[in-house]
């Protein structure tokens, strides 16, 4: 199809988690690709499965989770069938991960530098302390930590939130991975700090050529940093588009409503386009389209309540999980 092979290719990924009331399906046929060196945004509300998608790729799931996937293609391997032991050589080496809350994602009793050294030395068994530390300092400098050599000897509590998040990014980069999964990397940070951290991530992409999956609920962050967007709702992908396509010509009522519901998209004081109701519980998904109960599209009809739409291409080649993917275009036009 395209010239470049995707670095990550999810095909029909399903996830079930064990709850006190039995297994609950959290991800439903999640399918998307990530090209080498691109920044892809994944948006959705809490509970839409965007974080679980990243954890499924890394297989960092709670005990007794069940994964069923046609394929989780990564850099020539299928992670869906990789053994746990082999997967450990992928985690941290070929795929780095950045988590949401930098205040809790570092071990509080170990020096920051040591924790990054550890990430390097796990995958380079013969390497000495000095060499690992040199690599650590190099990465800390790349993500913009001043006085990196000295600060590496401090403990996490001596670092601010923004600095800690840079440390986590440095840790994810230390083995020169092909892909970084960043799960709400700036949600816990202030606006001015968020900008600094996202810049650091973008610089890593520019200098190391690493692809980034940027999971966020903030469409502004997507607009600024991602070239393509995956929109998730109730455990499934509802739309895949380039960022410009999504903002200007969305093909799914949920993505369209999400973009319209932001205050920035309206004139001051004018009522916002609100999405009524709340996302469905995963234990209690409607039979048809999961978004149907909240959908305000003029095309909504009986089929939305009875049949669940698949993620398919529209006539003009856009990916949307809406029965009326070909009609929205006309509305906008």
């Amino acid at each position: 199809m395209t010239v470049t092979e995707p670095v990550l290719s999810l095909q029909s990924v399903n996830l079930e988690l064990k709850t006190p009331d039995g297994y609950v399906r959290i991800l439903r046929d999640v399918t998307f690709d990530v090209a080498p060196g691109e920044i892809v945004g994944v948006v959705g509300e809490s509970g839409s499965g965007k974080s679980m998608t990243a954890l499924t790729v890394m297989r960092l799931l709670p005990p007794k989770a069940r994964v069923q996937a046609a394929r989780i293609g990564f850099d020539g391997d299928d992670l869906a069938t990789t053994s746990p032991r082999a997967l450990r050589r992928v985690r941290g080496k070929r795929i780095g991960m950045v988590f949401q809350d930098p205040m809790t994602s570092l071990d509080p009793v170990i020096q920051v530098g040591r924790q990054i050294d550890e990430a390097y030395r796990i995958h380079h068994p013969g390497v000495g302390r000095a060499e690992a530390r040199a690599q650590t300092v190099r990465m800390l400098e790349l993500v913009g930590v001043p006085d990196a050599a000295n600060r590496a000897r401090q403990y996490p509590h001596q670092w601010s939130g923004g600095m800690r998040q840079r440390a986590v990014i440095a840790m994810a980069l230390v083995n020169d991975p092909k892909l970084i999964l960043a799960d709400e990397p700036t949600t816990a940070l202030d606006a001015t700090i968020q900008a600094q951290v996202l810049d650091a991530l973008a610089r890593a992409r520019d200098e190391l050529g690493v692809a980034v999956v940027l999971i966020t609920h903030d469409l502004g962050v997507i607009a600024q940093f991602a070239s393509r967007v995956i929109v998730m709702y109730a455990g499934g992908v509802v739309e895949v588009a380039t960022t410009r396509e999504l903002f200007e010509d969305s093909r799914h009522p949920y993505s369209a409503a999400l973009i319209q519901s932001r205050p920035g998209a309206h004139r001051r004081g004018e009522p916002l386009v609100a999405i009524p109701g709340r996302p469905p519980l995963m234990t209690d998904l409607p039979e048809g389209c999961p978004f149907a109960p909240r959908c305000a599209s003029p095309y909504k009809s009986a089929v939305c309540v009875t049949d669940r739409p698949e993620l398919e291409r529209s006539v003009d080649g856009r990916l949307s999980a809406c029965h009326f993917r070909d009609h929205h275009q006309e509305v906008v036009a």
Binding site: P271, A274, L281, T283
Partner: protein, 302 residues
Amino acid sequence: MTGTTERTRPMRPSLTRRRELVPPGRLAFRRFLRNPAAVVGAVVLILIVLAVVVGPLFVPWDPDVGELIDARQPPSAEHWLGTDLIGRDELARILAGGRVSLTIGFLAALLAVTVGTVVGTLAGWFGGVADAIISRIIDILLSVPAVLVIIVFAGILGPSLPMLIIVFSALLWPQSARIARSVVLSVREQEFVQAARVLGSRTRYIVLHHLIPGVLPSVIVAATILVADAVLSEAAVSFLGAGVQPPQASWGNMLNDSKSLTVLTLMPWLWLPPGLAIFATVLSTMAVGDGVRDAIDTRRNA
């Protein structure tokens, strides 16, 4: 305007299970009933309490007086659990001793939990210097072994029942105080308490409707642990001779005689029953406490 559009379209929370409509208190009780260990513990505990309260009415023997002729008899139809070294009926003594042991245990725990809850609540609620001092006292007292203190007091002043209860509660209250303090601290941090202030609620209302319902469950759990602790400590102290004094029986001092090798080897009916009685009481109390704690664990409430 938009407010009205939404009013005409009320949102209903999807209630998948009926039990979500049940008040939290009743939910907790149901969870307790689903915990077999806790239920068995509760039943055993009730049986033990019933036995020592009404049991003596049905046993014809005086627990404190015996005939030497009857001494050292193994269990028989007449003396179900046999007789001790001076001919007292062992069953009568177990029941009477149980009254003493449980009275001390429950009374000391009740006193300790009351004092501890009040002190801990005040420390947590008001904070500041008073809290710092109280916390320090709690820290130190927590590591003071009650048994050793009783030995010192009994060694100097002579053993007595009121002293037992006072020293136990004096050394056990910090446990419940610490728990009450930490719960109050976390409840106080909860915004609904601050909200109540802005909403104009008076302190009395806040304490009655927000604070006490928040603290009570943890205090109940703390109380069960204290009962177990007090019963165990009383037994140890009486066993050492610093607690309940003969001829009055207690589960602890009934084992005192059994330190002798002859009793230990030849008369197991003298030491097995009181030992098992203590064990069963403590174990069932702990099981009930664990059950209550699991049942009120709010993390499972969501």
